[in-house]
């Protein structure tokens, strides 16, 4: 089935042109908004969302992916970005998709993108899939800070106005909000959110850390353990076909239930 791919700048307001790519099949029965992980996490998952977008499109599911304000090809400097800006980026894309049609909207978020989600966003979509979510901001920030320690840039972490992490200049306020962030799930939205966790073929159970992370989902059908190599860890590019297959099946089930 043919699909159209368009890349454009979405004007959130006069100073915020957000770069996005939309893939639209000729018949659309749902729309997925992909949320990439933050900072360096973007690079380890980009190919997975591209492949997912192609697969979804063959099943009449349109999709949009975009660069957060101040990152990638979107307007602005990363040091100007705030937590609210990035949440507004998501809300604006949802509003834009809603304005174009009445199809259900689903979010597929990778890694640290889960930290941006809140009840306001969840209320506006029909469902959310979390792919290996990072739910603890402090752990994510520690990872990024270690990156700079290893790169010998520790002094930059002490700058008063912003930090420089892996080439991104990030204002201290955003850093601090992310660090304090813990993904919280309101009971009324619980049924909307599915956690997709990849486990290696020989791993029988989740690590204790991950069990603690997803304690709200354990013992529910909203936690899916998928035997899929952890592609984002690998220095070699791996397309997570099994994860994408599960994700698609889940979307199709959700669409049928709408």
């Amino acid at each position: 089935m043919a699909s159209t791919v368009s890349a454009d700048f979405f004007l959130q307001n006069e100073s915020e042109a957000i770069f996005r790519i939309t893939r639209s099949p000729s018949v659309i029965k749902a729309h997925v908004l992909f949320l990439q992980g933050l900072f360096e996490e973007l690079n380890i998952n980009r190919h997975a969302f591209t492949q997912a977008s192609i697969t979804f499109s063959k099943n009449q599911i349109a999709s949009t992916t975009f660069d957060y304000f101040g990152t990638g090809d979107s307007q602005g400097e990363s040091r100007q970005a705030t937590f609210k800006y990035w949440q507004n980026n998501i809300l604006s894309q949802i509003a834009c998709i809603k304005a174009r049609g009445t199809e259900p909207i689903f979010i597929v978020a990778f890694g640290s993108a889960a930290l941006l989600l809140d009840d306001d966003i969840l209320l506006k979509v029909n469902g959310v899939q979390l792919w290996h979510p990072e739910v603890k901001g402090a752990r994510f920030i520690k990872k990024m800070e270690r990156l700079d320690l290893l790169n010998g840039n520790a002094a930059l972490l002490k700058s008063k106005q912003y930090k420089e992490i892996a080439g991104y200049q990030v204002n201290n306020k955003l850093w601090s909000i992310l660090k304090d962030r813990q993904y919280q799930l309101d009971a009324k939205n619980k049924s909307k959110v599915t956690w997709l966790e990849c486990i290696e073929a020989n791993d029988e159970v989740l690590s204790k850390n991950r069990i603690r992370d997803c304690e709200l989902w354990v013992d529910s059908d909203k936690l899916l353990l998928i035997e899929q190599q952890k592609y984002w860890l690998s220095a070699t590019l791996i397309v997570p076909d099994i994860l994408i297959g599960y994700s698609l099946r889940l979307l199709l089930e959700n669409i049928n239930n709408e």
Binding site: E200, S207, L233
Partner: protein, 85 residues
Amino acid sequence: MSELNKIQQKLIKILQVLMPSYEVDFWQNDVELFGALPELDSMTIVTLIGEIEDKFDTEIDDEDITEDNFLTVESLTNFLENKLV
């Protein structure tokens, strides 16, 4: 199997996931890690540390992220043994 061997096997499994282009037999005691493998850039080392923390249910202090501890498979195994046992 000794505790040291168990730790090393678990560590090698993590290294295999991170760098699947190397055969299982490649990961011997004397294989140099820090600065020796092109795939092991700073992002991969951060990922390795995260996976070690996850799989061994432990926390690694920033002060322990040293060239000495991460020099070879053996030195990293010994560091983990000292930390965990």
